[in-house]
């Protein structure tokens, strides 16, 4: 019987010839990624032994540099843990600081055909690398770090085939909003992306789409491998890897084809991500207090380039705060060299160090009561970015940048006309 990509990777990692939906698979974890939040005293326990220090990476990201004493305490515990067990892959505050999912992408930690776990729900972003990556809870992380294993309920898979190519000014975020608006949640299901249009999507675009898989409530969100992926990985890891294609007779819960060329920019309405997508024109003119571009989904170099392209030579509206947070410090440096940062600053944006920051209402862009924000990040749940009465619209970096200029929700069509 044929298997999907996710099923094949779970089978390989559990030493089974076959796994089928409905089973619980106990798998070998190739890479386990801990965050600053993993070391919260309320969840962390002193670890007495680790399975294999070389399979662990630690990334401080949610509150960096430390915004509170509690965050600083987490960082301290994390450093001590790394030192105690000789864990070399520690991304502390400094030059290789960044949001874990972006750091994983940059350093090639997500190896095609393997299993990766991380204590954050957007771990599925590493599915762009043909890796079965899943966000798990704090206790799962302790289990993975100490035993080298994890369990998964095997779900059914929905397959998406892309044809055509995105038009200028239409991004992977709009593609996500289209799928979220049309097909809604994928609870307990895996998502598999492929088709002739897939290879036209950059690695960063794939990461945006795979990362947003968490918002579908999907289990694993995974892309087919191609030459673009293989050369990306070869540049970043010396480890051998074996990408996985689905079997020709793989069984899917559903199979859907999307013409990328037919898509337009979309906006998600406040309080939920799925089933909330409308064309920009429907909410255009809505007054905003803040515009934010950042997060593991939209803090890539491509996102910063797009934002710079939209605001070049223009000014952010008076009374509107435009906050831009690169996904990693190395993206920050690359954007600086390319001139994007200068363009953004000249326009009136505030560019922050790489961190989760405003995305999670942590620091550097928290919303006050009744404020309105348009964000290119992952989530617009009630209270997500600060006060529960704040309203959060979600869109692509192009739409967010155009809205920052207007002080109201606006499209960026004229830039791409």
């Amino acid at each position: 019987m044929g298997m999907t990509i996710t099923e094949k990777i779970l089978a390989r990692a559990s030493g089974a010839a076959l796994v089928v939906p409905g089973e619980v698979a106990v798998v070998e974890v190739d890479t386990a990624v801990l965050l600053d939040l993993s070391f919260l005293p309320e969840g962390w326990r002193e670890v007495l032994k680790v399975h294999d220090p070389s399979r662990i990476a630690i990334v401080f990201d949610h509150l960096v540099p430390a915004a509170t004493v509690q965050a600083a305490t987490c960082h301290k515990t994390g450093r001590e843990f790394a030192a105690k067990f000789g864990i070399e892959r520690l991304h502390d505050v400094g030059p290789d600081q960044g949001i874990s999912h972006a750091v994983i992408a940059e350093h090639g930690y997500a190896v095609p055909g393997t299993v990766l776990v991380n204590a954050d729900s957007h771990t599925c972003g590493a599915g762009a690398f043909n890796c079965a990556a899943r966000g798990v809870g704090g206790p799962d992380m302790l289990w993975a770090v100490t035993t080298g294993s994890a369990w998964f309920r095997v779900g059914e898979t929905v397959r998406y085939d892309f044809t055509g190519a995105l038009r200028p000014g239409v991004t992977a975020k709009d593609l996500f909003l289209y799928i979220a608006g049309k097909y809604g949640a994928h609870v307990n299901q895996n998502i598999e992306y492929g088709g002739p249009g897939m290879s036209g999507l950059s690695i960063n675009a794939r990461r945006t789409l795979a990362t947003m898989g968490a918002e579908f409530s999907a289990e694993f969100t995974i892309f087919e491998p191609d030459d673009v992926l293989v050369s990306y990985m070869r540049d970043r890891t010396t480890r051998p890897f074996e990408p996985v294609l689905p079997d020709p007779d793989a069984r899917y819960a559903d199979r859907r084809t999307i013409d990328l060329g037919a898509l337009e920019p979309l906006v998600a309405l406040p309080d939920a991500v799925v089933n909330q997508s409308v064309p920009v024109s429907e909410v255009a003119g809505t007054r905003i207090d803040q515009a934010f571009i950042g997060s593991c989904a939209n803090g890539t170099l491509d996102d910063l380039a797009l934002a710079a392209q939209v605001v070049r030579g223009r000014k952010v509206a008076r009374g509107t705060r435009f906050i831009v947070t690169p996904g990693t410090q190395s993206i920050f440096r690359a954007a600086l060299k390319a001139g994007y940062i200068e363009t953004l600053l000249e326009a009136g944006a505030v560019v922050t160090p790489a961190t989760c920051g405003a995305c999670i209402g942590g620091h550097m862009g928290v919303l006050g009561p009744d404020e309105v924000c348009i964000t290119a990040s992952t989530r617009n749940f009630k209270g997500r970015m600060g006060d529960p009465s704040a309203r959060i619209y979600m869109a692509s970096p192009a739409t967010v940048a155009a809205s920052a200029l207007a002080g109201r929700i606006a499209g960026a069509e004229e830039v791409f006309a």
Partner: protein
């Protein structure tokens, strides 16, 4: 059989509602006081130990934060929902919150009804209406962790982590 007075919450209850982001760095007790503050302020003072939460579609959608622990700590005895988000389910197993999927449960209970849950035969009964529903069984190896108080005691017993 265990029974609990029900609180009905509907579809798509997300982890930011159960455990708001600003509370992530607070103590477990403070987190438990913040449950549902955005959608149902004051609920934490009304819920009593052993009460049941009834959810709709995709209960616990969102983040990996320990929202299941917050529910347990504010006294929830068990959770029944049409569907439970995969990540929230993991945390329910690991933090020892009894959480099961039960198709039809949202329509079968009005708030305040008493739910009588039998794990032995995977059924729930509405004590007021007499309606009986099948509960989707939790795989036995996961149920054992869920009912055994979660995964921490297991890891401590194996000598992997320090005991509390």
């Amino acid at each position: 059989m265990i029974s609990g007075k029900t609180w009905c919450f509907g579809d798509n209850i997300n982890t930011d509602l159960i455990l708001p982001g600003p509370y992530l760095y607070r103590t477990q007790e403070e987190q438990a006081r913040a449950v549902f503050q955005a959608n149902r302020p004051g609920w934490v003072d009304q819920v009593a130990p052993g009460d049941a939460v009834i959810g709709g579609f995709n209960f616990g959608m969102g983040s990996s934060r320990p929202a299941a622990r917050s529910l347990r700590l504010c006294g929830v005895g068990f959770l029944l929902a049409e569907t439970i988000n995969g990540l929230f389910f993991r945390n329910s197993v690991n933090y020892g919150l009894l959480a099961c999927e039960c198709p039809g449960v949202a329509a079968a209970f009005a708030e305040g009804d008493v739910a009588e849950l039998s794990i032995a035969d995977w059924r729930v009964r509405n004590a007021r209406t007499g309606a009986m529903l099948a509960v989707t069984p939790v795989p036995s190896q996961l149920l054992a962790i869920m009912q055994g108080g979660g995964i921490y005691p297991l890891m401590a017993a194996k000598g992997l982590i320090a005991s509390a």
